[in-house]
Symmetry: C2
Subunit: 307 residues, 2 copies
Amino acid sequence: MAHPHLDKVKEYLLDLQDRLCDGLAAEEGDTAFREDSWTREAGGGGRSRVIENGEVFEKGGVNFSHVFGERLPASASAARPELAGRSFHAVGVSWVLHPRNPHVPTAHGNVRFFIAEKEGAEPVWWFGGGFDLTPFYPVFEDVVHWHRVAQETCAPFGDDVYPRFKRWCDEYFTLHHRDETRGVGGLFFDDLNEWEFERCFAFQRAVGDAFLEAYVPIVRRRQATEYGERERDFQAFRRGRYVEFNLVWDRGTLFGLQSGGRTESILMSMPPLAQWQYCWTPEPGSPEARLADEFLTPREWLEEAEA
Amino acid sequence: MAHPHLDKVKEYLLDLQDRLCDGLAAEEGDTAFREDSWTREAGGGGRSRVIENGEVFEKGGVNFSHVFGERLPASASAARPELAGRSFHAVGVSWVLHPRNPHVPTAHGNVRFFIAEKEGAEPVWWFGGGFDLTPFYPVFEDVVHWHRVAQETCAPFGDDVYPRFKRWCDEYFTLHHRDETRGVGGLFFDDLNEWEFERCFAFQRAVGDAFLEAYVPIVRRRQATEYGERERDFQAFRRGRYVEFNLVWDRGTLFGLQSGGRTESILMSMPPLAQWQYCWTPEPGSPEARLADEFLTPREWLEEAEA
């Protein structure tokens, strides 16, 4: 069966992967992304691009994949578990950046598109995606910048889009066993097919295209801030929380592992180094305590900035 | 309702926790276990004992808990999901040791007992438990010693017990997304109520009591082996796999998080430090390559030792 929608989305995603890698590599010194192409036995494959031991990015990846198969895993759709078991195509680009400097936040983004098909039924398609920021030593103006770009990205699609997808992001990126968010959020959407295809696709492109504008200025602002062992320690501790979220709660990771995705590409999201200490909590009033105390519960950043 | 079975098991478990901590602390220098008692809002509580930054044990914990509630989580029983939703009691001791020296294997063990009740139905009880070993630089004779203790522990309960629970351990402690076992196995059993209560309880005690005999001789043998940065690096890399198993595949961790257990006690199983590198594989023929090549697929250690 021909999939004109799929072909268009795929073309956009491959180009997005190129542009993201170029934009991020431009912040680096000599370290480049390395590329691995892979195929999946059950159908499809991908193009992974990973950077390690860079001056700016200690570890990061920008991965494209197109997988298809006979049975859609349940984790693929939040809202419509009844689609599980249909034949499917899934295309997406996912990216994670783990900067070396603890003053530069970790960032993650993803845009994806699904088609689920069944004999005698209309094909069902939907988009998902978003981007979210995970600072260690958060700076209020950075968070406001991040959310302002998110809001401007959503504005042409309706006034309710930013608040809805901002709230969804806060809810999705929650460590329920810790009662804290992973970071300061951003945008998250899934099962998006409430508009016609062209409008949904335009929204996905807007989200993908906005990432560098949201992230790179923050990287540049914080990259020169000095740090020492204390900050690196705290970064490793918080990266442990990142691992907990990704492996326990992230439906995307689960989908990848359930659908026989390529493990090394899925788990390139893991930080280079993480640590766990029993019952460790930062000293009250310290910069480390400020993170959870002030930044890891949902806030209306843009309203606060205007107040 | 009175629970004479529960009271007896609980008494044993509290004593086991004491003996395990004493036996392990005896291998340490001056570092002692610290104790935290906690209560659980929905019913029950526990007594966690954790050691950190010891000379021998970089991190470790021996945790007792007794939780009860109105609705048994599905993850509590492998074989009988129909019991989910009954009121329940769960008591257990879990322990994990992360030694500092990469030549000393990581070890884990657990013994647990459940009662699930429903108006108008017989209470259902069962035992679970086992112990498993996760070396970094495995030594064949250590693995044989470990499994010999396991076999001797099982022997009084029937000739088929060791082979069954040894195989179950290999199956349970598998990282399916890596197609490798977590380590060299040991014993694992769940839903055990095929014998009368006293015999099941005796088996649980035999397993709990055997751990120090299985583990301490290995600690003593390998504790003095020299190591450097290379071995510590590989240890941190393999500890990443330990994290992956515990957070993605371990039903015990899932049960703890689903049943509103105490997060810090459940996740004391996390290693102190873990690292992830994209597509890293050890040099062929190196001691690091030997681990996965020779030790992370199920083997009949005792038959090989006798051959």
